[in-house]
């Protein structure tokens, strides 16, 4: 395992080491074998990813409700679903809330994880191991288990948070029902998502920081650069690609908060924690408007793909050989 570890360590984010072209070319094998070997993977991707995506696009252009689900006689309505969606003020509220949720989460995650990564780098061996281990434990906590625990932490009557806040003198928190207030529920979900996301970002940023050669720091210090200046002129340029990768991943992963939201609030109270994927599933599966739900999903995919392009550009710049 150590061989593997050493070779993968300096290039984080699942990028395998660069291969030398020589041996590979010697190992050339022509014929149908490579195609047979990748066929199951390709077929799997076609049936389980491309087909559902195509189907969602199709449904978003159809009139597709419960009747069509059972009888299967959906017909085309062109852009009607998108028109209905884009003229619905509730949809725009959800879009704005999605961006707010994303901005707050990503900003907190990036700031906190950068600070944690810089801190780990300065720690001694024993402290570093302790911090890394607790980050790993937090990261390992399954989403549904963490969501359940947070519901318990913020329980109105016996929750430790209310108890602590009351004890500190904020008596208005005695029996405060967090999940009954829109803003408070939104805040808890942000806390939960940030708590779960910081470990990955911090560990990845820390492993990027370890690749900065120490000679550069010494040289900068000899030149009399201040701590902040060293960070801006030495650390940041080297870490920037990984930082951008983590940033775009976190933006994309905001949509995965679907699980936390669905388990904790189902988008409520009212609409206070409804973000786009929650809205899409509510519309489709609760109101049986599969067409509108698919249209909302496609809007989500279009929004995401903008960020995805940034992510892939960063990634392929890193990737020596695809």
């Amino acid at each position: 395992m150590s061989v593997v570890h050493e070779r993968t360590a300096p290039r984080p984010l699942t990028r395998p080491p660069r291969r030398t072209p020589g041996p590979a070319r010697r190992a050339t094998m022509s014929g149908v074998w490579p195609y047979l070997l990748v066929a199951p993977a390709v077929l799997g991707m076609l049936y389980l990813l491309v087909y559902p995506l195509a189907r969602a696009v199709l449904i978003s252009f159809q009139d597709f409700g419960l009747r069509q689900l059972i009888l299967g006689d959906a017909h085309f309505v062109g852009f009607d679903n998108y028109r209905t969606l884009l003229t619905d003020p509730r949809f725009w509220t959800v879009v704005r809330r999605t961006f707010l949720f994303m901005a707050v989460n990503v900003a907190l995650i990036m700031v906190l994880s950068t600070l944690v990564a810089l801190m780990i780098e300065r720690l001694g061996r024993r402290w570093r191991t302790a911090v890394l281990s607790s980050l790993v434990l937090t990261w390992a906590m399954p989403v549904v288990a963490a969501t359940t625990v947070f519901q318990w932490l913020f329980h109105s009557e016996f929750g430790i948070v209310n108890h602590g806040l009351t004890g500190l003198g904020f008596t208005s928190f005695e029996g405060y029902p967090w999940l009954a207030h829109g803003g408070a529920a939104f805040g808890i979900l942000v806390t939960l998502v940030v708590w779960q996301s910081v470990p990955f970002a911090a560990i990845t940023l820390y492993s990027a920081l370890t690749t900065v050669p120490s000679e550069l720091y010494e040289a900068a210090r000899l030149d009399g650069a201040s701590g902040f200046r060293v960070f801006r002129s030495v650390t940041l340029p080297i870490v920037r690609p990984i930082f951008m990768l983590v940033l775009s991943l976190e933006v994309i992963w905001t949509f995965r908060a679907f699980v936390q939201i669905w388990v904790m609030t189902r988008g409520g109270p009212g609409d206070a924690t409804t973000i786009l994927p929650v809205y899409a599933v509510q519309t489709a599966l609760a109101q049986q408007r599969y067409d509108l739900g698919s249209a909302a999903s496609m809007v989500t995919v279009v929004l995401m793909s903008g960020i995805l392009i940034v992510y892939f550009r960063q990634m392929f710049r890193q990737e020596a050989e695809l």
């Binding site: 590979a24 389980l48 625990v149």
Partner: protein
């Protein structure tokens, strides 16, 4: 000298201690609550350290209706998905790492895109397709979805592992009379074992934790639910029994926590990026 150093580093160590506390407190609170007797859980003055310990909550969680069944479902679905992904990925990553063929770049591009698939936005079409093909409420459907969720990552990582094994080893085995695939099986495969192990454990975690598809694809057949869905509906099972709820959460989280600690070296080297996301 050393005292001055200690004082100078105090803010740093305070920050580190704060990080550790914030990270661990929810996990700690989950575990201790599950060991506390009910009167301590529902008390005006919660204790940070449990005074008396009890295993009642664990007993109630395990005896709860369906726990064994859902546990079995989760294990079956995840094992199936991981094994399938491993077999398919092994073939594909061998082709990518060891062979030259037209379309190799395009294939890897497809894998990278698949790794970022917007699964949250595919729930509706997957639900409709499963319904049309009579696959709703069936565990194999979940196995297939989880297989696809873990496959891209498995291919990317295995391809990296295979690339680190010198091809000369296999070539000398071929000179000694092995076939091409025999050489791979007898020489490279044993070297790959740790990589296979780590990769499959990460895949296992992804599938073990998955909630959305398990929630929306298993509707009528309650016997086919998996652990995350069961846990998410703890209000139905345990009502306001928070001790049992936390015991159930602990039992559910334990395998994941153990795997991560076991693989900590891999996790902290950034190896798992994109594989497991809480």
């Amino acid at each position: 000298m050393s005292t001055r150093r200690t004082v100078r580093r105090l803010p740093l160590h305070l920050a580190a201690a704060l990080t550790i506390v914030i990270c661990l407190f929810p996990v700690y609170w989950m575990i201790t609550t599950s060991f506390k007797p009910n009167r301590d859980i529902q008390s005006e003055h919660p204790q940070l350290l449990p005074q008396t310990w009890t295993l009642d909550h664990f007993k109630r969680a395990i005896d709860a209706e369906g726990f064994g069944l859902f546990w079995r479902n989760s294990v079956l679905v995840t094992l199936g998905a991981v094994l399938l992904a491993l077999i398919v990925a092994l073939g594909a990553s061998f082709a990518v790492a060891r062979m030259r063929w037209r379309g190799r770049r395009q294939f890897m591009l497809m894998v990278f895109v698949a790794q970022m698939a917007p699964w949250e936005s595919l729930i509706i079409p997957v639900y409709i397709i499963s319904r049309d093909t009579d696959m709703l409420d069936r565990l194999p459907t979940l196995t297939l979805v989880y297989f696809m969720m873990t496959l891209p990552f498995t291919i990317v990582v295995l391809r990296g592992f295979i690339a680190t094994i010198p091809v000369e080893l296999e070539e000398s085995a071929q000179v000694d009379g092995c076939t091409r695939f025999g050489a791979f099986r007898h020489v490279a495969f044993p070297l790959l074992a740790p990589g296979l192990m780590a990769t499959s454990l990460f895949g296992y975690i992804t599938a073990w934790n998955e909630f959305a598809y398990a929630n929306f694809l298993i509707i009528k057949q309650q016997d086919h639910r998996t652990l995350p869905v069961w846990l998410s509906s703890f209000h139905n099972t345990f009502g306001t029994d928070w001790g049992a709820t936390m015991a159930a959460s602990t039992l559910f989280a334990l395998p994941a926590l153990a795997v991560f600690l076991l693989l900590q070296r891999h996790v902290t080297s950034g190896f798992a990026a994109g594989a497991v996301k809480g």
